[in-house]
């Protein structure tokens, strides 16, 4: 027995060693004169900020769901980022950025054989890895409070290892969409759209939570258990977005980059503010009270929407984009409830609908002067860019949904997607994790 263990140990070590040896040897071989230290610093700091969006999502999703499922959603948030980190390192980054064809990259597994650009490849990986984690984590919110933990782990791994990287390759990895001039600066479609649309497919496979819709079709409230946590989450996300968007410039050195990241920053902020104001106003007008959770979704909607166009539109356009985003999110939540699509945290309207909206907005307000291929509709560029944008965002959404539908179907058939009714009522914390989130408090587990 002990011998076996030692042998296994040695094998593990050996492989680590060999692989690492290769990697480092290769890297030592090439000189790296192109690396910009300042850009590296910028991108790393931005990556840290984007990483911090993980607790943002975790707090938002936990806060907007019920106390009896809090451990479960937190565990999912830890695991999706951890699993994404590992698989995106081993294969995902290669599929996304490695040399390959216009559909998929095929080199650079475990980052081996990749060359440094203006950034060390390690820095590029880190920045991309946190984006990948973001796409994954969006799904957990939409499918919250009823998805089996093991199933979640399985499809998250597939999403982050294969599906997201392929979609990313099309645009950011030099694939066919980039060749067509599709523009998605920081990932309204690639990151958020993917997350949101996959969440949509997932919820359709799952069905609504128990008690969400009455027999007569009326939607019921299954209110979030901690609005303060949710609010904290949204603020953290807003903060993290200052890494997400400005960081996607991938450079900060030189006057042009300095101006670019400044413009991106203010656009990001103005759109978020406008989204919050618009969503609150709309929900206030329609339902009579300024709903906090909707306001928060409005801020996120503005952030998602500005993610694609932030580098190529003016601050004024950003405000308008954000205002529409706030409107779209309220309408979207209401629409989904009518359709009995149960999305506990609003992942679909925030990331799916507004991911699409933001991507399309590039074709409306985008400016050639700021680096876009064609001027947008309102800048006299006609429908060229707009058409490409629509095509691109639809293509990505369709691909994401199709792939994951297959995965969900397979998982459902093999291990099942949904917990039992008993488990759902008692809460996933006790049943799936054997623990409670709030041991010292008396909570209602009966809703």
């Amino acid at each position: 027995m002990i011998k076996r263990v030692i042998a296994a140990f040695m094998a593990l070590m050996g492989s680590g060693l060999a692989l690492a040896g290769n990697a480092l040897a290769e890297e030592a071989a090439k000189e790296a004169p192109k690396i910009s230290d300042m850009d590296t610093m910028w991108v790393l700091l931005a990556a840290y900020l984007v990483f911090f969006m993980q607790p943002g999502f975790a707090m938002l999703e936990a806060g907007l769901t019920r106390a009896k499922n809090a451990c479960n959603i937190l565990a999912k948030n830890f695991m999706d980022f951890s699993v994404a980190s590992l698989v995106y390192f081993l294969v995902g980054y290669a599929f996304m950025f490695g040399d390959g064809n216009s559909f998929i990259g095929l080199k650079g597994f475990g980052l081996m054989g990749l060359e440094d650009g203006s950034l060390p490849v390690w820095a590029s990986w880190m920045f991309q890895a946190v984006f990948c984690g973001t796409a994954a984590t969006i799904v957990s919110g939409g499918m919250a409070e009823r998805t089996k933990f093991t199933s979640y782990l399985v499809f998250t791994a597939v999403l982050t290892a294969i599906v997201y990287p392929i979609i990313g390759h099309w645009t950011w990895g030099g694939g066919w969409l980039s060749e067509m001039g599709f523009f998605d600066f920081a990932g309204s479609t690639i990151v958020h759209g993917t997350g949101g649309w996959v969440a949509l497919v997932g919820t359709l496979f799952l069905g609504p939570r128990l008690g969400k819709y009455s027999v007569d079709g009326k939607a019921n409230v299954l209110a979030g258990h901690s609005l303060p946590l949710a609010a904290l989450g949204v603020f953290i996300l807003w903060f993290g977005w200052f890494g997400f968007n400005p960081g996607s410039q991938l450079a900060a050195s030189g006057v042009d980059n300095a101006r670019a990241i400044a413009l991106i920053t203010i656009n990001t902020n103005l759109s978020a503010a406008a989204g919050a104001v618009a969503a609150m106003s709309v929900v206030w007008m329609i339902f009579g009270k300024p709903d906090l959770s909707m306001t928060m979704n409005g801020a996120l909607a503005g952030l998602v929407a500005i993610t694609a166009p932030c580098a190529v539109v003016s601050p004024f356009a950003s405000i308008v984009i954000g205002l529409f985003a706030g409107l779209i999110v309220v309408m979207g939540v209401t629409l989904l409830d009518k359709l009995h699509v149960d999305d506990p945290v609003g992942a679909i309207p925030v990331h799916g609908f507004n991911g699409m909206w933001g991507t399309i907005a590039v074709g409306i307000w985008g400016q050639k002067a700021l680096g876009l291929a064609n001027d947008g509709l309102l800048h006299g560029g006609g429908f060229t860019q707009l058409g490409i944008q629509i095509m691109g965002t639809v293509a990505c959404a369709a691909f994401a949904m199709a792939c994951m539908a297959v995965v969900f179907a397979a998982v459902k058939a093999i291990i099942g997607l949904r917990v039992s009714v008993e488990e759902e009522i008692r809460g996933l914390d006790i049943e799936e994790h054997g623990m409670e989130a709030y041991s010292d408090f008396q909570i209602f587990t009966t809703r």
Partner: protein
């Protein structure tokens, strides 16, 4: 000896306590409950969904009293809790066979006060 159980609106607790104090009834125990009665819940909106909440938050008072204090207690509760609107609540009077103060071992009526 009786145990009076009253379900009242949470926002009336202060006034009920005050009224009981004035009636020289200082001993009571309070719990949070959710309940439904004639008032069948109110509607809340949350994320654009209108909800008819069926179990409403109430406060439950338990007051152990000697027989001669029952009326005073009832009046005090009504005085503090009545708003005239639906949801004001109800109270029940239950017989108590025995009472005991744990610290002193006093039994019966003198344990109540």
């Amino acid at each position: 000896m009786k145990l009076i159980i009253a379900y009242i609106k949470p926002e009336r607790l202060r006034d009920v306590k005050q009224a009981l104090y004035e009636a020289q009834i200082y001993n009571m125990s309070v719990t949070n409950v959710v309940g439904s009665g004639r008032q069948r819940g109110f509607s809340e909106t949350y994320r654009g969904v209108v909800q008819e909440v069926n179990l409403i938050k109430k406060v439950r008072l338990e007051i152990g009293v000697n027989d001669e204090f029952v009326d005073a207690a009832r009046q005090a509760i009504v005085k503090g809790a009545r708003t005239g609107q639906i949801g004001d609540g109800v109270m029940f009077v239950l017989p108590v066979e025995d009472a005991m103060r744990i610290r002193t071992g006093e039994e019966g009526g003198s344990a109540m006060g």
